[in-house]
Symmetry: D2
Subunit: 132 residues, 4 copies
């Protein structure tokens, strides 16, 4: 596995539910921020990739929730690329609270490379090289 990335997010007020903890759907949005920043650090601007007609929709997502995240907490999202082929990319995530490093959640997403219409499309070699 190649070097990963870390990005910080702060838990927003509307992300917290009436249990007083971040609602479980938000972790997937934080994973996405981690993924975007990891790609950017590798030289892949995801927005520009889409402008070129290459999309990476999620085809599978999992999350294990280990500790609650609360309003205004700082979180660190650690992201790694688990594997990349011409038509698939997989990421692994670990969200930790700050300070302390308590693991809030771990998870994964798998993505298909498709064109604007949703049809499979091979990732260009220059992109694949940045992902391995």
């Amino acid at each position: 596995m190649s070097a990963g990335g870390v990005v910080q997010v702060r838990v927003r007020y509307p992300e917290v539910d009436r249990m007083g903890v971040a609602h479980h759907a938000n972790h997937f949005i934080w994973f996405e921020i981690g993924r975007t920043e990891l790609l950017r650090a590798r030289g892949v601007d995801y927005g520009r990739l889409e402008d070129e007609g290459i999309f990476l929709p999620v085809i599978e997502a999992t999350c294990a929730y280990r500790a609650p995240a609360r309003y205004d907490d700082f979180l660190r999202v650690h992201t790694q690329i688990e594997g990349a082929t011409a038509v698939r990319v997989a990421f692994a995530y670990r969200i930790e609270s700050e300070p302390g490093g308590l693991v809030v959640a771990t998870g994964s997403t798998r993505h298909a490379a498709v064109d604007r219409t949703g049809r499979p499309r091979r990732l260009p070699a220059r992109i694949r090289e940045l992902l391995v």
Copy 2:
């Protein structure tokens, strides 16, 4: 003012914040549902309008919050068209809780008619006729 429309929504778990009441950003999403259903009742399918290259982005939005909405509450969104020209449409909203008719919020949105690139575009006469 012409006849309005009513649509029912149920307050979702993630829409409620740690105060135990619906977060104030959601009312604008409920207004949008009210607007969509009013347009549909008038014969305007908003999704198809966009497919034809006519968009109605919000250029102004207001909401006065009068009573809290809570998890699992049924709400009724009352929507009316306040005015429509070739390039502007304005809506007024009133959200009531069910049963009882307690007013949860009132508000308004103003919209510009634009094309896919965001440039002003006149609404076709057949659409304008449905809005007055």
Copy 3:
């Protein structure tokens, strides 16, 4: 496995992203609606359960995305209880588009029974009986 439940949701405008399809975090919110309605059909009002001090936070969630959901689509969320003990409940979901029955997504959630402070708490027998 015991009888499941079905609930209909309509894809909202802000749930759709710039790919033109529902963003993958929303499926977990639709699963939650399916779960809430299944519980209600079994005689368990989830809001009241929380008022009594019994919470069922998600400890694991998965989703496999099979077909895109688009703006204004009607979806049917099919939910089943996969298993229930005194301290754990598991649900399985299948989202289909309407009409046609195309499978949009399948998924699962696992929940722990906890009290207001997040400590494990056994489900009362009267609740467990409603879940099997």
Copy 4:
């Protein structure tokens, strides 16, 4: 009017709709981030305020949308306190894109000071002093 605050936010993928621009409900969430950071800079930790039983729910919100915000854009949220009494606080906002300073939106929120049950509650003098 006293000195304001500035905070940076980046437009997230799910915040962008199928028009390719940030959905109009998100601006109220960005206003809230601006407000929270302004309060923090003044020495008021909003989360702790709630823990002490003082809440500031929104009773009125407005936004004028002047230019679209797009995926991955950096935005600067400028926030100012417009006025504060023992039972009301008002904020004004201006969101600019970065770099360039194009005005994306301006808006306002008014808040009531209430207790945990939603009843009016006077802000303690030490808090009021931090707001003027």
